[in-house]
Assembly symmetry: C2
Homo-oligomer: 564 residues x 2
């Protein structure tokens, strides 16, 4: 109550603010106006917007002050750094709130992974909220490290940073009103529920929305986004490292004049290179403004709209009673960030003083329990036309081909056209090994392996030699996961990702440099420039994206939803 | 969960809907579009919007289907009928949700009044939510029937139909960070808090918002509404029987193009005559459309916007998963209601089957505990210029005059210009009697008295004869409150309002007829046409509206906030 009284006293001019940002042009998300004012902060909260002064003041010299940006949907694990490191990378570009779905680590470690992410994101200068992963394991057609059931969710429901249910990927079950998800959904009938329903339309979409799903971030066209918006789903316009949906959707918004109140921004997955070059949600705003969207509207999508949909009281506006999470922009056109304030404190010094989080515990740090693999275990009998996965440039989809592949003695022999793809169960469950030909990857002279392989995060490896493949796979187990590159029979590069085989304990800059090095090495082995050697590979085991995938249980026909 | 599965099955087309509204033009509050579709209902909830059929179907023949209307702020007591009767009057014009602040009855009966309103609004074909009265008693300058403290509020906080804190009228205390309200506000830091801050501006307004107040419904000009909206307050555009703010605010919205997302509609007080003639929130929509607002935008203000601000999940849209509260309009221009569906059921038969609610208990039914008054007790010594309240046509404000009034033997003698106004404490606390001259009321040949007198609801009476005044006041106590009219020494008319002296147990039509009769009688006694004999009178004791008021403790200077 003292804080309340002090805030009111500051607002009324009876007490001195902790900080006054003077002479700002304040972006008002409520009225769509930009109005000159001073902003007074008390106890980390905005007390007043008007005419204020204080000993501790910053002259904004007419620059534009807007609310801190919100990423409405991100998988932190995809940055390959811990939450604190992501904050160190994202906060300077204006992101003050993340809504994270930790389904990568939960697929590996279950509830221990959920708990770890909550712990690792405590006391950071960024509001990190979580949606509980809804679909772990993702399918019965692969071996996941853990399950995360209704009962596993229960202890997390009351956590102040747990908002609701993470992306409901099993849209087939939802639309069919079947499976475990139908038990889970009623738990969240008063909370936000994120959707994931690429291409779902018509009566199927109505059924998906009727089940209580409230958002969607998989739309790739405006028509798809508009239909989902009509069905009441709030639309997360996704622009990250893996998916680029912003141009199509914003183009449609601009062309049709559809109200943007139900649209917001997310990255889903964003890698360090992109983060450090473009910034984070700031980049979504910039792209939208470049396309001709009114800056205030784009900023509202990045702030207030997301705060409303996720029920984040006190976030998303520069107004009295709101948290003093603010971004100062030099220009609305460039969306170039001059300063960021988190809880009314300058982000620069805050980040400098950020303590490193030190992970512990075997469940998190020793999650790779793969069998020792011999080259013989990777042999693939082949005769005549066999199923072949083909990578598609710039897309996550694969093609399902049936082609003759090169053989010797009845076994597949990889070359520059046909790579050998292997998936090895690594959670200590059954040691499954699955092998298939992969077209379009182009690697020669070695192998690449990683424990980052959506969504079950078994080991996935691709190469042209069984010996190199086996070496790469076995090395991954030794270093508790990460990236490994083997060239000519030797481990030539590696990026350890000891946290569940997904995230590094190192600083973002080191991870970025090491990743850059290993990718460059991989590119030198014949992988085309439009394929990211590790990230593209990490989707080849994901049995929910068309058309053909390889899990530890074998080849999976996504269209028929059956193992071959 | 069965309901969920059935809903999904209906949406997906596997099961038959309870009801299908076919061939509607559906107003989509998310996208601002109007799109032809069928709407399928299952278990009282909308399952799908698309192409559906069922044995139970209604052909909408292209008429416009929109969400049920929401009154974001109403004092039910002001209709003088019980909640069920109000629903019977309001539902046919499309109102399916009321957000009520029962501060009238709580001022009389305290927590028992709050409980009564919850009980009396159970199981009605209308969502009736409540905001807990925040300012009871309203001021220390009058004798209220009860107090409603922080501790009194506690038992109601978890009630599923209690949303938050009712209009915080003690804006002086809030801005000054003082008084009981500063203890109450923190209870509601995660709930909606309604404001009431007429004319509050600048740093005072910032302080009011910084305290956590989230809405405001007292703006009389667009400039005032816009400043409040900028400060983050959601704006309730009020158009009721007592206050008419819609034209000014909607004019400003149309002229400036300010986004309407933070604006909604309320009536605050609306009487049966106006309800039965114009309908309820439907009238606000109609007025806005008549002024040139896009119908979809006006409908959104009446539905979705209010649902968002008050956190009413599943209300305010025609979309899968939303409650099947819908209004079918013949025309968007006329806003003429063809049919109303509550929980997917036709309102007509629902209202026909509505059981009467029978109030009970002495706290509610025998609330008038006034002293027996003699004419001698109403004598008012007067000499020279004395304070005089003057009524202002069409406004709640009064003028504070100092004038010589007619006297005889040193006592005020009323005439056609100067009426005698009396306030008698009626809660059994102290039997206070206060008397003052009133200008502009014009009554001759008798007296009028009522127990409806905001906000403490003591007896207020006005007349030109002490004998008639005493008779009217005493008669009120005999009938447990209501309206009484005395003409020439006889009780000529009365409307009993036995429920806390505020509401009738009778049907709305009877109350309306009886009220019409007594008002007509009153008009025949010289009260000018622009003054409602009872309602205008009922505000003369309200010490929070400028400039001069009479409470049971005496004359109150509102500007200086002191008893004279």
């Amino acid at each position: 109550m003292e804080e309340l009284i002090n805030r009111v006293d500051v607002a009324a001019g009876r007490a001195e603010a902790d900080l006054v940002l003077k002479n700002a042009n304040v972006v008002n998300v409520f009225t769509g106006e930009i109005l000159p004012a001073d902003v007074a902060v008390a106890g980390g909260v905005i007390a007043g917007v008007g005419s204020y002064s204080a000993a501790n003041r910053v002259d904004c010299a007419g620059r534009f002050l807007c609310p801190g940006f919100i990423d409405a949907h991100i998988h932190i694990e995809s940055t390959m750094v811990l939450p604190g490191e992501l904050v160190r990378m994202a906060l300077p570009s204006g992101t003050t709130t993340l809504i994270a779905d930790p389904h990568e680590i939960v697929n590996v470690c279950g509830a221990a992974g959920m708990r770890f992410m909550l712990d690792a994101s405590e006391n950071l200068p960024c509001n990190i909220y979580f949606m509980l992963p809804s679909s772990v394991p993702p399918t019965p057609y692969e071996t996941a490290g853990a399950s995360f059931t209704k009962d596993d969710m229960a202890p997390f429901l009351g956590h102040p940073r747990v908002l609701g249910l993470g992306e409901v990927m099993c849209f087939g079950d939802v639309v069919g009103a079947q499976g475990a998800i139908m038990d889970i959904l009623p738990l969240f009938n008063k909370a936000p529920v994120d959707g994931h329903a690429p291409g779902v339309s018509g009566a199927q979409l109505q059924a998906y929305a009727a089940a209580g799903v409230g958002t969607e971030h998989e739309s790739t066209t405006f028509a798809e986004a508009a239909e989902k918006a009509r069905a009441g789903l709030a639309i997360l316009v996704r622009e990250g490292s893996a998916a680029h949906n912003l141009t199509a959707i914003v183009r449609g918004l601009l062309d049709t004049g559809m109200p943007t109140g139900r649209f917001m921004f997310c990255t889903d997955d964003k890698h360090l290179d992109d983060l450090s070059r473009d910034g984070h949600i700031r980049w979504n705003v910039k792209m939208a403004v470049d396309m001709g969207m009114e800056p205030v509207q784009a900023i509202r999508m990045a702030t207030w709209n997301a705060a409303r949909v996720y029920g984040l009281r006190g976030l998303g506006a520069v107004a009295p009673g709101y948290r003093a999470d603010m971004v100062l922009l030099n220009s609305l056109k460039q969306v170039d960030v001059a300063a960021v304030y988190k809880d009314g404190r300058d982000a620069g010094p805050l980040l400098g003083a950020l303590p490193a989080f030190v992970p512990s515990g075997p469940a998190i740090l020793h999650s790779v329990k793969a069998p020792r693999v011999t080259p013989q275990m990777l042999a693939l009998p082949a005769a005549g036309a066999v199923p072949v996965m083909e990578m598609v440039p710039y897309q996550l989809e694969t093609r399902f081909l049936r082609e003759e592949v090169p053989t010797a003695g009845g076994f597949f022999v990889p070359n520059a056209t046909y790579t050998k793809l292997c998936v090895v169960e690594r959670h200590g469950k059954n040691g499954n090994v699955a092998v298939a030909p992969l077209k379009g990857y182009g690697i020669t002279g070695g192998a690449i392996a990683t424990t980052v392989a959506h969504d079950s995060h078994n080991i996935i490896a691709a190469g042209d030699s069984d010996a190199d493949l086996a070496l790469a796979i076995n090395r991954l187990a030794e270093i508790d996961g990460g990236y490994v590159l083997v060239r000519g029979g030797e481990v030539a590069g590696e990026v350890p990702l000891r946290v569940a085989g997904l995230m590094s304990c190192a600083r973002a800059e080191e991870v970025q440099a090491a990743t850059g090095d290993i990718i460059q090495m991989a590119a030198g082995m014949g992988i085309p420039y439009y394929i990211d050697p590790f990230i593209s590979l990490s989707f080849m085991a994901l049995p929910v994206i068309p058309h053909l995938r390889l899990t530890d249980k074998g080849l999976f026909d996504v269209d028929k939803f059956v193992l071959l």
